[in-house]
């Protein structure tokens, strides 16, 4: 009984380590075979359409609502200190530094990440990837790498659009609905938001999230057992793993970026 438990633990550990190694090799292979994704940039643009453009609706709508909620909540709190004009700063900084990159990444993981895993997993299960290899076409270069770079490129744009929509939502609620002074809202925002400190760091975050999400999604699809259960399990794992990865990375990045402020 005990022996079996130990054996089980051992084999799980070995499997886990083996999988991490496989994932690392996969990631290196994607980077090494990225030439095609840039030489034939059309391939990457096509994938940017599928993962980026098709995520737009959910990103824009969510951004708007998050911004509107920020406007309401922020006003409530700031009002008690009599500093409603600072609403613009609060909305903009929360979005650009945190909510934009993080929430957009979480949405991207569930909208595009899961779709990537399912697609790659199905291509594998139906032997399309093997067929490609037998045609002397490298699936890592032709299928995986363009999707990877498409995700990495799309993510900062999606985060920026999320933040922009959010600021607009905060403006709608704060200025148009509640009546915060419009000039103060914008001018305070302009003077308080720093390009390097806030915007650039937000962009760096979203690029890192883009790398993590697409790499996880592609690996899960590529590694999925070639069955229906295998692909559905991998899709779920993509959403769970990449969401957790985004939150963990966000903490680490924030700790490095904003510790002195």
């Amino acid at each position: 009984m005990l022996r079996r438990a130990i054996e089980n633990l051992g084999s799980r550990t070995i499997d886990g380590v083996w999988r991490i190694g496989f994932a690392a090799r996969f990631f290196v292979a994607v980077l090494l075979h990225s030439g095609t994704a840039f030489r034939r940039f059309g391939l990457t643009i096509r994938e940017m359409y599928f993962s980026g453009v098709l995520s737009l609706i959910i990103i824009l709508v969510s951004g708007l609502f998050v911004g509107m909620v920020l406007g309401l909540q922020g006003y409530e709190t700031l009002q008690t200190y009599g500093s409603e004009e600072a609403l613009g700063i609060l909305v903009a900084l929360s979005l650009v530094r945190e909510l934009g990159p993080v929430v957009a990444a979480l949405l991207f993981a569930s909208r595009a990440g899961s779709a990537i895993t399912a697609e790659i997993g199905l291509m594998k299960a139906t032997e399309q990837l093997t067929a490609m290899e037998m045609m002397a076409v490298n699936p890592i270069a032709r299928v995986i790498a363009p999707r990877f770079w498409a995700g990495v490129i799309s993510m900062p744009f999606l985060a920026a659009l999320f933040s922009a929509m959010g600021i607009f939502g905060g403006y709608l609620v704060g200025v148009q609905l509640i009546g915060v002074d419009e000039g103060a809202f914008w001018s305070q925002m302009q003077s308080a938001v720093d390009f390097e400190e806030d915007i650039l760091n937000g962009i760096i975050k979203s690029v890192v999230f883009g790398v993590a999400i697409t790499a996880i999604a592609l690996f899960e699809g590529y590694d999925a057992p070639p069955t229906a259960e295998g692909v559905s399990g991998a899709t779920t794992r993509t959403v769970v793993t990449s969401s957790l990865a985004v939150l963990a990375l966000d903490f680490v990045l924030t700790a490095f970026m904003f510790r002195g402020v």
């Binding site: 291509m123 032997e127 399309q128 093997t130 067929a131 037998m134 045609m135 002397a136 076409v137």
Partner: protein, 281 residues
């Protein structure tokens, strides 16, 4: 008629396109192939027969270089697959076509684009030339009318014919078919069989057909290998196979349930499965 007529191979070394010598292979610890010898000569249609799970697909994977033999050599067009690097392997694969059991068409592009795929990937031909070539290949499998359909709109037999058009798009020297007859109605069965024979003859290909459809394939093949338990148990021309009275061949050709092929999948001793272990406490 049995596995050991090596003199026959030696005399025709030169026109052997595929040569498999003493190949041993297993997935993990479980052996699948245990010393296979097989030759396919240029212009021939060679069938590989055997019961499900005996390693026929694995044999094709070895020839396509997807897996490597643990022992023995696999040669295609004189090149030893075990010694090729990735680039050499890809170079060789451009001259091979493989027809997968379920077609393995790319589901996100049309039939036309599927057939055009290898041409677009490997040649710099103008789009007009590609169009002509694709329609020619589709015509060869009788499916020009399906060019604009998506693969999901095709029946199983049609999908396999499209996959065949794709496999011959680059005019390969060798085409491998994995169970081209499985799940086809009797008419499609005959059509597919004739197609394989006709393409082999008109395009000067060599065809390796994995199948367990004895009746259909014996009509079109030049030579047959029977695989069982990881070795070639019988081989010969179609006529020789039909006339054979080897128990294995007889069982296979006449579809008898009982015979030398065991009914049970290789398994640990039943007693061990029940937990009555003797070797381990």
């Amino acid at each position: 008629m049995t596995a050991s007529n090596n003199d026959r191979f030696d005399s025709v070394q030169d026109d052997a396109l595929v040569e498999i010598r003493d190949v041993v292979f297993g997935y993990g610890a479980r052996p699948v192939l245990q010393g296979i010898n097989l030759t396919a000569r240029r212009g021939q249609v060679v069938a590989i027969m055997g019961s499900s799970g005996c390693g026929k697909t694995t044999l094709l994977r070895l020839i396509g270089g997807q897996v490597r033999a643990t022992q023995g050599t696999v040669r295609v067009a004189g090149e030893s697959l075990g010694e090729l690097d990735a680039e050499g392997l890809y170079r060789l694969r451009r001259r091979m076509g493989m027809l997968f059991q379920f077609g393995a068409l790319f589901t996100d592009i049309t039939v036309f684009d599927n057939v055009a795929y290898p041409l677009r990937e490997h040649t710099d031909l103008a789009e007009e030339t590609i169009r002509d070539l694709v329609l020619m290949k589709l015509n060869a499998v009788g499916l020009t009318g399906a060019a604009d359909l998506m693969p999901s709109a095709l029946s199983g037999g049609m999908a396999r014919r499209v996959a065949l058009a794709r496999a011959i798009a680059l005019d390969p020297m060798l085409v491998m078919y994995d169970e081209p007859f499985a799940g086809l109605d009797p008419i499609s069965l005959g059509v597919t069989g004739n197609l394989i024979r006709r393409l082999t003859d008109t395009l000067g290909l060599t065809s390796l057909v994995v199948t367990h459809d004895v009746q259909e394939s014996l009509k079109i093949v030049d030579y047959v290998y029977f695989v069982s338990a990881g070795v070639i148990v019988a081989e010969g021309t179609a006529a020789e196979i039909l006339a054979s009275d080897l128990p294995y061949v007889h069982q296979f050709v006449h579809g008898e349930a009982d015979g030398p092929v065991p009914f049970h999948y290789q398994a640990p001793a039943y007693a061990e499965d029940l937990g009555l272990r003797s070797s381990r406490a």
